[in-house]
Amino acid sequence: MITLPLLSVNDLVMYYKTKMGYVRAVDGISFTLDRGESLGIVGESGCGKTSISMTLLRLLPENGEFQRGHVYFDDGSGPVDLIGLPEHEMRKYRWKGISMVFQAAMNSLNPVYTVGDQIMEAILNHYPDTSFDEARAKVAELFKLVGLDPKRMDQYPHQYSGGMKQRAVIALALSCDPKIIIADEPTTALDVIVQDRILKEMKRIQRKLNMGMIYISHDIAVIAEVSDKIAVMYAGKFVELADSVTIFKRPRHPYTFGLMSSFPSITGEKKKLFTIPGEPPNLLNPPPGCRFAPRCPNATKKCSEEEPNFIEIEPGHFLACWNPIKQEGERA
């Protein structure tokens, strides 16, 4: 039997409608995600990474217009195109199929309910047959899973530290046994020592439950730690996607290379960092051709006229570039 990937996203396009025109936040994104696999989406603010997750979960604001594309979700019972589903059908997949740890998760807990009640609410909503006691037992189990003391489930969010809130939000995301979790900047507001613990915890839980994970971050060091494969996003598009070692050691897209070389590290030799000239484009009116062309050291005339396709240049390595970095130009 051929098993399809857990999630296959094909040519997903979503624009925000504004008075000035369409903001092309998600413009032709394709990727797959398997069970037990983690994908990191890395890009700068405003490149559309959060919009991808909102489109996948169909949690778009009013002006978010889905244009085209497919999101096939297959938990073993056959592929379903989430995009085509009516809202009441979609609800079965939201949280149970794909759940999310939101950005600034620490503030996504309701301050007037206990943490335990909030997680129970999610469970009782999605599994109406569950009894109160069963739901409480499940919350206690989730607390243990994410490294929180179950005694704390009757406390309010303000009684938690930042790291504990983050754990609670992860427990909430796990509450309906999702197959996929999208974590949007899950540790951005945390101090490094807490960040380290949370990332390790998430990796451990992912392995234990064999889930698919999508990490979204601007921080390539965090992405490097948790991802099996990495998609580099620029101005609404993926420019490169490959396993994480390839992305870091043999990047082919000049933007990927620029991003990797502009990040300081505490290890290795101290070297001069690379600066990518200019600024990211406005997605209301992106430049013609390759969107990175105006900032690209390799750009030619063709780059600013014709848009490069996102093609598989070697197994599992996708690239959208007319003049990629030569293979010999390997980074140490």
């Binding site: 101090d191 020592i193 380290d196 601007h218 921080d219 992305i247 990797m260 502009s262 505490i266 290890t267």
Partner: protein
């Protein structure tokens, strides 16, 4: 006082009232900065690194005199500036400037870029309008906002985050300061923009013969920007050393944990497990013992009963505040 240093900080303390009892009597204090001493050489950049709430920003604010210290002394080029009032205090404010973290908050949205950068000149009564325009244009050129004429009359909302931070840098430089406190100037910026700002700040430091106190939570950024790094924990400096020495030979257990916890942009690199317990406690009326005691993996009985350890020079230029490290080095 030694002429080698541009800035010396001696036993600096800054306590904030944590609550007020009946009749406004303050019962508890947050020990934001507690007996901190360090010095910065001419032309040097010292990194002040620590987690949020450790007191690094308060230290910066006391140095630029946005906050009055509870006690302690401050020397600029060997002169005690603690009692400065009137014109001498104004003079101090000319020489010591600060760059803030958030370029979206630190620029007045109702002022043009020219007004923002020229305001210090206005306050100190320097130059006439024409001279100020020339000065601002020169600075815009220097911070890479070219041509200056196309930026001068715009408002902050018309600029990107990176451009705004360049404006904030230009404003800090307009009075020709000798010392600049930079409080996380790049942490709000995108990766591809950040490097440009860091490089700009290093170029300007050389060109204008300035010294920096560079406050950051990011050790990798501190490594890139600073000759020396001081690590702060709950209001205390626990370790201070030359940058590469600190990163390759961290001695204080907190520094070691911090370094192990920093994610490395290399998927093949595997880090160890940071040896640290619990989480940061609030610095409200902390007990006199070592601030790191509750989380320390190498604490002993003595640590509990002794006062917070002093900074001791364990290796040349490498200071650590830890009884155990000291003992092990001797033994």
């Amino acid at each position: 006082m030694n002429g080698e240093y541009i800035l010396e900080v001696r036993n600096l303390k800054k306590y904030f009232p944590a609550d007020r009892g009946l009749f406004g009597r303050v019962r508890h204090f947050v020990h934001a900065v507690d007996e901190v001493s360090f010095e910065i050489k001419h032309g040097e950049s010292l990194g002040l690194v620590g987690e949020s709430g450790c007191g690094k920003t308060t230290t910066g604010k006391v140095i630029v005199k946005l906050e009055e210290p509870t006690s302690g002394e401050l020397f600029l080029s060997g002169e005690n500036v603690g009692k400065y009032v009137g014109p001498r205090k104004r003079d101090y404010h000319r020489k010591v400037q600060m760059i803030f973290q958030d370029p979206y908050e630190s620029l007045n949205p109702r002022m043009t870029i020219f007004d923002i950068i020229a305001e210090p000149l206005n306050i100190h009564g320097i130059g006439n309008l024409k001279e100020r325009e020339e000065r601002v244009a020169d600075l815009l050129q220097e911070v890479g906002l070219t041509p200056p004429s196309s930026f001068m009359w715009r408002y902050p909302h018309e600029l990107s985050g990176g451009q705004r931070q360049r404006v904030a840098i230009a404003r800090a430089l307009v009075l020709n300061p000798t010392f600049v406190v930079a409080d996380e100037p790049t942490s709000m910026l995108d990766v591809s923009i950040r490097t440009g700002i860091m490089d700009l700040m290093m170029e300007l430091r050389q060109a204008h013969d300035m010294s920096y106190l560079y406050i950051t939570h990011d050790l990798a950024v501190a490594r890139y920007m600073c000759e020396r790094i001081a690590v702060m924990y709950l209001g205390k400096i626990v370790e201070i050393s030359e940058t590469e020495e600190l990163l390759s030979n961290p001695l204080h257990p907190y520094t070691r944990a911090l370094l192990t916890a920093v994610p490395v942009p290399d998927p093949e690199f595997s880090r160890g497990e940071p040896e640290i317990m619990g989480s940061v406690t609030k610095p409200i009326d902390p007990p006199p013992r070592c601030r790191f005691y509750d989380r320390c993996p190498i604490r002993t009985k003595d640590c509990e009963t002794s006062d917070h350890p002093p900074l001791v020079e364990i290796l040349p230029g490498h200071f650590v505040a830890c009884y155990e490290v000291e003992k092990r080095k001797q033994g």
